[in-house]
Symmetry: none
Subunit: 212 residues, 4 copies
């Protein structure tokens, strides 16, 4: 009858978000039940709708900020790249920096990123992985073209460029789902980035028949 008094304002919202993270993680967005989330949080459905517009908004409230920060960080990284480093041959250390940064980002809010990257089917984020891939790819594409220009008679192998980028992102997702410890994650990723660099040298350029 009478609403509970919370010592701390915002407590209920936190309880809801916590229960939502667990439910979304367990069942995925579509099959997750708002009823169950409310029950687990110890409140009624009405309360949820005070804090969140609808189911999608609840999901967004968990993943939006981390996602935006990730995208921003990536954009800044690649912008800096494109200005500073005309010389793609000097970018080895750079890959390592990127890996470190991303792993740290992802692990600073691991649950949210797991949700975003593996449980977003049915939400407006369901293409988030592709968007991140697209972001990296457009930057990598510039680099690939530079490489091709530097090697006459070659052109960019678009499929491999796309695949390598995708694999790169998938490697992060694999890390997130299989390795809890951030330090170890960074070690793994460092090795993987090295391996990806060799992929570039091996596969990105193909003979261009149209050139003489």
């Amino acid at each position: 009858m009478s609403p509970r008094n919370h010592e701390q304002s915002g407590e209920t919202k936190e309880l809801l978000l916590k229960a939502a993270r667990a439910e979304f993680l367990e069942k995925g967005y579509t099959k997750a039940s708002l009823r169950k989330i409310c029950a687990d949080a110890g409140v009624t459905t009405g309360a949820l709708y005070f804090f969140f517009k609808d189911k999608e908004d609840l999901f967004s409230s968990i993943v939006e900020k981390p996602y935006r920060r990730l995208v921003t960080a990536l954009e800044e990284h690649f912008e800096f790249d494109s200005h500073a480093a005309a010389d793609y041959t000097q970018q080895e250390g750079d890959h390592d920096d990127l890996a470190r940064m991303l792993v740290h980002h992802l692990y600073s809010n691991r649950e949210a990123f797991l949700l975003l990257l593996t449980r977003a089917h049915g939400t407006s984020y369901e293409n988030a992985v592709d968007e991140v891939v697209g972001l990296m790819e457009s930057s990598y594409h510039v680099m690939a073209e530079q490489m091709a220009s530097a090697h006459p008679g070659t052109k960019v192998n678009e499929y491999m460029l796309h695949w390598l980028t995708h694999m790169n992102i998938d490697a992060f997702i694999h890390l997130l789902t299989h390795e809890c410890d951030e330090a170890k994650a960074i070690e793994h990723m460092s090795q993987i980035m090295d391996y990806i660099v060799t992929g570039w040298t091996k596969m990105i350029l193909i003979p261009d028949e149209t050139q003489k």
Copy 2:
């Protein structure tokens, strides 16, 4: 009240399967609507239940056989491997054969495998990818141990073994979702398999501190 009769026997079941493939592909298993499938096939919901036990059975009817054939093919391939090739250094051609076979398999029933590998959340097939990974990994693990034995002071890097295997499968999925043409798919995959082999030589073995 009175059932419509079709000139051609079996037509309705095909229509249902066709509509189901499209709907599952578009919305995923959970959100796919049986009503919509029936409407698209031009029959009532009851008709569906004449041919299929339930929603899951409808899904199974599309993916089960291709999946079983794939698993059998993989098992036979790896069994042959383990008998014949003690010498892991001679397996380059083998990888290419495997890639060819798998691509051919997958493209002979592309829609079914897309369903199985990317839309099966909520069905008994939702771990199919992991099962295939597990299958390959257990075979690869034997090979990795052989390599480690041949190089004293080293041991298998389990994480990288798992990741490379996963990446291998994901590469097939990526192919399936991005490349319609089987011939081109085989070309891509051939190149990717080469690249994966270099991954083995680079990452599978790590120093073993416990050995002197």
Copy 3:
């Protein structure tokens, strides 16, 4: 595709009736599934509708004849009674005859009567028990009035008359459901009929205040 050839005509109908008896007995009329009956009989639903108009007709085909015979036998018994036996005091042997006859009737087609008396909810036979009770009661009522006439200052206790009759029928049903062996059933019933006769002497008549 091609209909099975039966050596003996009517075989299918018998199979259907057999499966129907089992299913009706197990689940009751309402919950019984025609699909299951057809499957158990090894035929398709269409076949059922060649022999029977609908679900109710299938049920009727099992119970109608036995029921009619029972009703006829009862009517004949009571008609004979009312003509012959003005003297209700001489009817002890008669009760025993009735019991013997009914038990024999019921056990000659036990499954059908079990269906009729315990599984007919939802059919036009759902009041069969009441009808039989009504039949006996109207005959017993005459006898009871004769008794009352013979004992001035008394009248018939309608409730007890109805209840005793009901109990009488229920005793037969109880027998049918608990005792397989007909010989033992007759023994039990004989004893019960004796007991019921004492019920008549104890409870059927009550003082009639309206008489002086």
Copy 4:
């Protein structure tokens, strides 16, 4: 979209229970339609599921408490019996007490007991009558054995014991379905209990051939 609000809290639940009682009584559990119940109560089907878990829970909500109370009352009655009255010859008044108590119990919630005792097919209560019979019988059995011990050369007639007990319960059900007025019901039952006692003296013991 927008929920209707009732001036009186709890009104809807009562309306649903009322409509449910009527529908279950008319059609029996299985054939009763939740749609109809909701329509009769003037609410949508969703509303029902706010108050009740499912169809069975709705039925339980009507009969569970009365049933539990009845069972408890019976258990207490028989427990008291077994402690106090070793002498079965002094239990006439006791039967009358039991009858009075039971009738009062049953009539204090007549509709619920009608449902429980005659419309529960398909629910977890479908064996409620048998359970009550079993409860009484196990207590009566002790008494019957005492009687047999007191009369050498006799043993308990198990069939008649079971039948008398069943008849006893059926008598209550008959009352419930035929007599609205509780006062009259008690009168009837009092007479019937007397009659049942004579049944005990007449039928419970039979000669024991195994004793000399």
